[in-house]
Symmetry: C2
Amino acid sequence: EDVVVSGVAYNRNEAKISIVGVPDRPGIAAEVFGRISDSHIVVDMIIQNVGYNSRNDISFTVSKEDFAATLKIAETLCKELGAEKVISDEKIAKVSVVGVGMKTHCGVAAKMFRALAENGINIEMISTSEIKISCVIRESDLDKAVQAIHNGLIINAEPGI
Amino acid sequence: EDVVVSGVAYNRNEAKISIVGVPDRPGIAAEVFGRISDSHIVVDMIIQNVGYNSRNDISFTVSKEDFAATLKIAETLCKELGAEKVISDEKIAKVSVVGVGMKTHCGVAAKMFRALAENGINIEMISTSEIKISCVIRESDLDKAVQAIHNGLIINAEPGI
Ligand SMILES: C[C@@H](O)[C@H](N)C(=O)O
Ligand SMILES: C[C@@H](O)[C@H](N)C(=O)O
């Protein structure tokens, strides 16, 4: 589903769901994603930051088509796990910088974040790997974001990368 | 730095730093990673989940060698940005499942999390891409984690993948 434009990839077809305040103990993530997987729903990003007071928030994205069904599952899980609440948002998009050998990661990440910042785009979530830096932003900011990253980074024009 | 064992990758040489309660507005992530990049420090993972009340937490990992220097930078940034505090932890490790075409992502993620859970290993942070599901865990759990994932998942024995 990701559209790749010589180093910048983006996906408009994303919705995010967060199960807030899950118990931060072994087995919780397994239960959440086991249940979603059993429902044959494909998850794109999974993001979990550091927990506090034995609680944590687990966020993930699915396609907009799967959003309603996944939200139901998340709400059921929230009750079963004794989590605090579910929050969700369909008006997001994912924008990524893709490149091999980004272990000089930090320079590229800084440039990407700078490009977004200079265009007043708030970065809502961040997830990275060696080859990809992904940011969740407002869907309405996506076109501006892709343009900004193209302008701000020297993208090796290798099609399909 | 990642050691890859036919589908399972791990990195013992990681330390995590979180700048807690940064203002959740454009420009903050750019400032944080611009400063670290200018100091010639390589960042591995960057994780940021959804913010609350106009605040968010930005977490990242660096090598243990770079930890002390990065912590100083983070503490300076914390003051300058008016963030709440810095938390850090050297006793972590990263364990990942690596595979191409993991858009059936959720099944693999669920299996990985289940393998860890069944061995009583708490998953502290999660970050994913299409080809990699990474978890931050206690460093002391790493050997058990790698073994558990090998046992729990059918890993295509392609060396170097
Ligand atoms: C919060 C969740 O990730 C939990 N720590 C687990 O290990 O499943
Ligand atoms: C918290 C931080 O990511 C902020 N939202 C930014 O855009 O820089």
